[in-house]
């Protein structure tokens, strides 16, 4: 028995370095497996699909190389979707930043009592509590030609017209962008508020002694101190807003006449209305490339910060 144990020991000893180096990977393996299954495989499948004539509905897909890319890049509706997405995303992100920062500064103000601040904190964060579908239906009713927005415009004497906010090519993109800003600013507000509360009071006291006014303190102390948070927020929001779908789909469906067509509604229509899954994959791949560029920028910022 002893001999047997003695014989086994060197074998285990030989495995020592493998076990030593393999243990961390063993711990990582569940996460790696999940990442591979939920992220890597779907991404590669979508990339693969984009090179075939059509998939899913076609039992024997044929490799067509870059043909689908050529079709999509020449499609004027894709161009419209890209243009609308850029407007929607950039205005939304700026709107989120301005509103989030303004409300965070208000809530960080010591003029109001803690109770008042607490009440407003709850009120301001409310839009974030609703799902996209609820927000869409809520605003759809308010922006109805017979809705409360037109009523308020009418009683204040600003406009008597029954403006069809979501049915007019002139207003629809602005209306959905406004809804998205309303729905998303609390995330900025909460994050910036946390950042504001972490800025040392000493900095403001020293600046006051040096004679800096409130505006100078804001631009020389507050903004630089918040910069890492702001960069993270802007980057993440840019990516999230590109994928905004339910709000637009429920309220306008990308219409009227493509006025609110964004990349997400364009991809949906290609896939689930036209059943052109490969062309939908091409558009998705192009969005993926754009988001990857932003993600690299974000990662580099994070590394530089660390």
């Amino acid at each position: 028995m002893r001999d047997a144990v003695a014989q086994r020991q060197p074998r285990f000893a030989r495995l020592g370095p493998v076990l030593k180096h393999g243990t961390p990977y063993a711990y990582l393996s569940p996460t790696l497996l999940l990442i591979i299954l939920l992220l890597v495989v779907p991404i590669f499948l979508v990339i693969k699909y984009s090179f075939y004539d059509n998939v899913i509905i076609n039992k024997n897909p044929v490799w067509v190389g870059l043909e689908n890319f050529r079709i999509i890049l020449r499609d004027s509706r894709f161009h419209t979707a890209v243009r609308n997405t850029l407007i929607f995303v950039s205005v939304s992100v700026v709107g989120h930043l301005v509103l989030g920062l303004s409300f965070a500064l208000l809530l960080n103000n010591r003029v109001f009592s803690a109770r008042t601040t607490g009440i407003f904190r709850v009120v301001y964060v409310l839009p974030w509590m609703f799902t996209g579908a609820v927000i869409a239906i809520l605003w759809q009713m308010m922006l109805n030609p017979n809705g409360i927005v037109n009523y308020l415009l009418s009683v204040t004497g600003l406009s008597d017209a029954k403006i069809a906010w979501l049915s007019s090519r002139k207003y629809a993109l602005g209306a959905v962008t406004f809804m998205n800003i309303w729905a998303g600013y609390p995330f900025f507000m909460v994050s910036i508020l946390a950042g504001l509360q972490g800025i040392s009071e000493d900095l403001y006291e020293a600046a006051a002694i040096d004679g800096a006014n409130a505006v100078q303190q804001f631009f020389r102390i507050t903004i630089p101190q918040l910069k890492p948070i702001l960069i993270s927020l802007l980057t993440l929001d840019f990516v999230w807003t590109i994928f905004q779908f339910d709000l637009i789909w429920i309220t306008t469906g990308g219409g009227p006449l493509y006025a609110t067509e964004t990349l997400s509604t364009y991809i949906y229509k290609q896939a689930f209305s036209r059943f052109q899954y490969s062309q939908a994959s091409v558009a998705a791949v192009l969005v993926l490339i754009a988001c990857t560029v932003i993600a690299i920028f974000y990662a580099r910022q994070q590394v530089a910060r660390d």
Binding site: N146, T251, T252, G253, G254, G255, L257, F272, S273, Y277
Partner: protein, 413 residues
């Protein structure tokens, strides 16, 4: 010895329980019907099947539009529910994808007599969907608004309709007519726009292919709809409006006329018990006195190809189409049965439903979008060009229809 006996007993029990688990089949049934039926009716009907066969039915119920999305996603990933509620407009694409089963084969295998079915939706000669119940789309009219506007007779022709809609818009706070043209759900083209064409004996297809260019009746119908917009009698917000919002506007007394499903009688009664409304035939082109087409939509049923329980699923469809079950469903849904042998008792039904039934009997059922390839996409194309025409960015109805035909044709090859 005792230990061995115990072991045998445990193993036997395990085998028995496993075989029992294997025989307890549960079919998933994805549909939007439960949402639109009175509470508990569909559950009660499907429980009858479970009682007979022991096969459990799990109802997966969502609103109509969500059901389509869920089924489309299931078809793409091969995870569709065993039995699915279908709209005729979806069938072609799912059949071509191989996502739904060929029911002709199952009918033949089961020796089913299909002569009792009022209709079957076929692709390449094989049945893929059976309409369980059919819904007619009459025109609803708010009688109080008509009275306020001094309109004493229900309009029968387009010119009478336009005059009545103008009177309502001019003399009341409401609008004459309403049409939902949202891009997300473009079936306003099928249910509201085309109802004027079909009521006038017109068609948009010829031998199953698009026949839009030079189609005189369709040109006139298009010009008529534009004239309603130009006259300002159409409720605002049409371009982002869905059918649900349209019904809501009617319920709130903001519009005098709307073409809508008979299924909405319950909803209107529930939400506006005091609304004084009636149903009438969709007005026809001036001078037309031939038979009128009436839009029908149906609650169809099909089987997912990926279902492991094809035979059980077919038995369930047979059960749903059985005359007495079919009649019960038709009564509850305010619809017409899909089985010609079913004899629903409409005596307890809403009087308006009985009026609609009389209108239906004087018309012929039509829906040219049923069974077409990518029919939702076709409606969306029509919707886009119609909006451009109404907005004055396309000069004539002929030009608009030519654009649509050019975009439709590649989908029919």
């Amino acid at each position: 010895m005792v230990r061995r006996g115990l072991l045998v007993a445990v193993v036997s029990l395990l085998v028995l329980s496993l075989s029992a688990a294997a025989s307890a089949v549960t079919l998933e049934f994805q549909q939007w019907w439960e949402v639109e039926l009175p509470r508990g009716v569909l559950r009660e009907i499907v429980d009858g099947f479970t009682k007979e066969t022991g096969v459990e039915i799990r109802l997966l119920s969502n609103p109509y539009a969500d059901t389509n999305t869920q089924i489309a996603a299931g078809a793409a990933t091969g995870t569709m529910a065993d039995v699915v509620g279908l709209d005729g407009a979806w069938v072609y694409d799912y059949a071509k994808q191989g996502a739904i089963s060929n029911l002709s084969a199952l009918m033949t295998k089961g020796g089913y007599d299909d002569s009792q079915l009022s209709d079957q939706v076929r692709v390449d000669g094989s049945t893929y969907m059976i309409p369980v119940v059919n819904f007619a789309y009459p025109m609803y009219v708010n009688l109080d608004l008509l009275k306020q506007a001094g309109v004493t007779e229900l309009p029968k022709t387009w010119s009478e309709f336009k005059a009545a809609a103008e009177a309502v818009t001019r003399k009341t706070q409401a609008y004459g007519w309403i049409i939902p043209l949202s891009t997300s759900s473009p079936n306003g083209i099928q249910n509201q726009f085309m109802s004027f064409l079909w009521a006038s004996g017109g068609y948009m297809l010829k031998d199953g292919k698009p026949n839009l260019v030079g189609n005189e009746k369709l040109i006139k119908a298009t010009e008529f709809v534009k004239s309603l917009f130009d006259a300002g009698v159409v409720a605002p917000g049409a371009y982002s409006m869905t059918e649900a919002t349209m019904v809501e506007e009617f319920v709130n007394g903001r519009v005098a006329f709307m073409t809508s499903s008979l299924a909405h009688i319950n909803l209107i009664r529930q939400n506006a018990p005091n609304l004084n409304f009636a149903v009438m035939p969709v007005p026809a082109m001036d001078g037309y006195d031939g038979p009128r087409g009436m839009v029908v939509a149906n609650w169809g049923i099909g089987i997912a190809s990926n279902s492991r329980y094809q035979d059980e699923a077919w038995k369930f469809i047979e059960y749903m189409m059985r005359p007495e079950v079919n009649a019960r469903l038709a009564e509850a849904a305010n619809a017409f049965p899909g089985n010609v042998l079913a004899a629903p008792d409409y005596s307890a039904a809403d009087p308006l439903f009985r009026d609609a039934y009389e209108i239906f009997k004087d018309s012929y059922a039509i829906n040219e979008f049923t069974g077409l390839p990518v029919s939702e996409h076709l409606m969306r194309i029509f919707n886009d060009y119609l909006q451009l025409y109404i907005e004055g960015e396309i000069d004539s109805a002929e030009e608009m229809l030519a654009f649509i035909q050019a975009e439709w044709e590649p989908n029919f090859r």
